[in-house]
């Protein structure tokens, strides 16, 4: 069995915040807690969850824009945390990021051509002509006309800017693109165009995506596999079809039931969740979801559930719906 393109093992990120009068008391924000998953080439893994559940932190950890507290991120079997600065620069060529906000992620002072060719120019010298050709190719790939070459981001629409951001990510021919809420700043019609563009690129170039979103309809459209996150942990990891047809974890169930369905004749069945997402500074004991969970039992209050494989090939972290049969130490997803 070949190793997957991207493998994440026990990824954890705690942010320390100082408070109190003398800044002596240190508390931890548990942004990401023991997250493991893998992504195969030309596949799309979607990560969904409410805001504040650690989705964007995962994106930043994958790009190593922030250092993980513990855990490993393996690209083709190489741990990116073990690389020094120069090695990291070369490894970053293999994975690129598309940012959430197409306004602030493009330098307003540069032209479209400068923006898309910059990554390549970081690694090799290009003549003026090569720059124009490369920029033209990249712009065409994302469906922008080459007339845009000398425009600045402020002279483009939101959708055009996001396409420009995608073109920049494509410039280095990455095998993995991390898209952090890449379409949530766009109108629905433009969202669809950009999503289709991403799917086309995946088919043509075999790029794998880690697609982070809070929007279930987007995720259903684009994802092969879906990881549902709650308060820094993955609670369910399943293929898109099985998850949407039959969510197992009570949180996934509630999330999918709460998503609006554009069909007025379909009645809402599920009872909406009560309460708020707890603070990651002081998460509930045991299963973080237990205070809001309709199925919670005593065990959920004391014991953290780990992702457990179920017979139909998914992973669920729930004591009630997918009770672990094996002793819990050995079944962590390593």
């Amino acid at each position: 069995m070949t190793s997957p393109l991207l493998k994440v093992e026990g990824l954890t990120k705690h942010y320390a915040i100082a408070n109190g009068v003398l800044k002596r008391e240190r508390t931890k924000v548990r942004a990401v807690e023991d997250v493991s998953f893998s992504v195969e080439a030309a596949q799309t893994l979607c990560i969904v969850g409410e805001s504040g559940c650690g989705k964007s932190t995962i994106a930043r950890l994958l790009m190593r824009l922030v250092q993980p507290t513990s855990g490993r991120v393996l690209i083709d079997g190489t741990d990116i945390a073990s690389l020094n600065k120069m090695e990291l620069r070369t490894w970053r060529r293999r994975m690129q990021m598309v940012f959430q906000d197409p306004y602030s992620s493009l330098n307003p002072r540069l032209t479209a051509q400068q923006i898309v060719t910059e990554p390549v120019e970081n690694f090799e010298r290009l003549s003026q002509r090569e720059c124009r050709l490369l920029a033209g190719d990249l712009l065409k790939q994302v469906g922008l006309s080459t007339d845009m070459m000398n425009r600045r981001p402020s002279e483009m629409s939101g959708g055009q800017r996001q396409r420009l951001g995608i073109a920049r990510a494509l410039a280095l021919n990455p095998s993995l693109i991390i898209a952090d809420e890449a379409v949530s700043a766009l109108d629905v019609s433009v969202q669809a165009q950009v999503l289709n563009l991403l799917m086309d690129l995946q088919q043509q170039m075999g790029i794998a995506f880690v697609f982070i979103s809070h929007d279930l309809s987007v995720v259903e459209h684009i994802g092969h596999r879906i990881a549902v996150m709650y308060l820094g942990r993955i609670v369910e990891l399943a293929s898109a079809d099985t998850l949407f047809a039959d969510p197992v974890h009570p949180y996934s169930e509630a999330l999918i039931a709460a998503a609006p369905v554009p069909d007025p004749t379909r009645a809402r069945l599920a009872v909406p969740l009560e309460g708020e997402v707890p603070s990651p500074i002081n998460p509930p004991s045991g299963c973080a979801f237990h205070p809001r969970c309709p199925l919670a039992v005593e065990r959920c209050r004391v014991e953290v559930p780990f992702l457990t494989p179920t017979p139909d090939g998914r992973f669920v972290a729930c004591h009630v719906r997918a009770p672990a049969r094996i002793p819990k130490e050995s079944q962590r997803c390593d």
């Binding site: 970053r92 990021m97 959430q100 307003p108 970081n122 425009r151 002279e155």
Partner: protein, 293 residues
């Protein structure tokens, strides 16, 4: 840049895209007034030998004379031409103003960017800046002048040392806000090296504050130079400087008032020009501040 101003919806775009594009300079009379005045003064200072006499020649027989065809503004207590001395005094003021501005901007930028980008340096650099800020310019200049004797170099050094902290703090604050922008992270993801990130993505954002602060530093350096020359610790007394002209002229104020008023008015006009330019640049780079005022 030629594309920009012809776009009709440019103004609305500007507000969205922060400081990418700027409106036309022409719309800002303060810049035109301040810049024009300064340009005029610089031209006059450079071409001084073409139309003004020698500011150093003393003539005891023609002391404290009223304006005449030879000496347009009369002569001072040593018989020197007040017009020539005023015109040549412009050189000292402008040289000190510009040199101080350049030195303060250069070192302020260097330290500010380093402190803003490399967090480890930040605390140390800022404490040193706090220390420099607490040094009174005049005392430092007097101390240095008493060590080496008065001179322009000492003046520029003393004034710029005490102006660097203000520039540093401004630059640092801009760098701190820019380094967190997603486009800087995007550049990092694209494999950009640190010097390139600083040069291409961080430094351009500091230019507006540098220019505005530079104009203010220039104005106050000119004033401080005049003050120090007035006290006798600025440029050597034989070299014409507005400060030492006022200082010696005030003793003969009732006989030859122009020996005080000529350099005084020039000083006021120059400082005003630099301040106008600074205010104009501020409005230019930050359109909001103009609209609210």
């Amino acid at each position: 840049m030629a594309l920009i101003s012809s776009q009709p919806d440019d103004l609305t775009m500007q507000q969205v895209s922060s400081s990418a594009h700027f409106p036309k300079v022409r719309q800002f009379p303060l810049i035109a007034a301040g810049g024009g005045l300064l340009a005029l003064l610089i031209t006059l200072a450079i071409t001084a030998p073409l139309y003004a006499g020698d500011p150093m020649i003393m003539d005891p027989f023609k002391r404290l004379q009223p304006p005449s065809a030879q000496a347009w503004l009369g002569t001072d207590y040593l018989g020197r031409d007040i017009f020539a001395r005023t015109v040549f005094g412009t050189r000292i003021s402008l040289v000190v103003g510009v040199a101080t501005t350049l030195a303060a901007a250069f070192f302020g930028l260097l330290i500010g960017v380093t402190a803003g980008y490399y967090r480890a340096v930040d605390n140390i650099a800022l404490r040193i800046m706090d220390g420099l800020m607490s040094i009174p310019t005049i005392l430092l200049a007097i101390a240095l002048a008493s060590l080496t004797g008065p001179g322009i170099g000492i003046l520029v050094f003393a004034i710029s040392v005490t102006k660097i902290p203000a520039v540093t703090r401004l630059v640092r604050s801009v760098v701190l806000s820019v380094r967190e922008r997603p486009y800087v992270e995007a550049a990092l993801c694209g494999g950009a090296r640190m010097p390139k990130i600083l040069w291409r993505h961080v430094l351009p954002s500091t230019i507006p504050v540098l220019m505005v602060q530079g104009a203010n530093v220039c104005a106050s350096a000119i004033l401080i130079e005049a003050g120090l020359s007035f006290l006798g610790v600025g440029v050597p007394p034989d070299i014409a400087s507005w400060g030492n002209m006022i200082s010696t002229g005030r003793l003969y104020l009732s006989i030859a008032p122009l020996s005080v008023f000529a350099p005084g008015i020039c000083l006021a006009v120059t400082v005003l020009a630099a301040n106008l330019l600074g205010d104009g640049l501020r409005d230019f780079f930050d359109p909001r501040s103009k609209r609210t005022s």
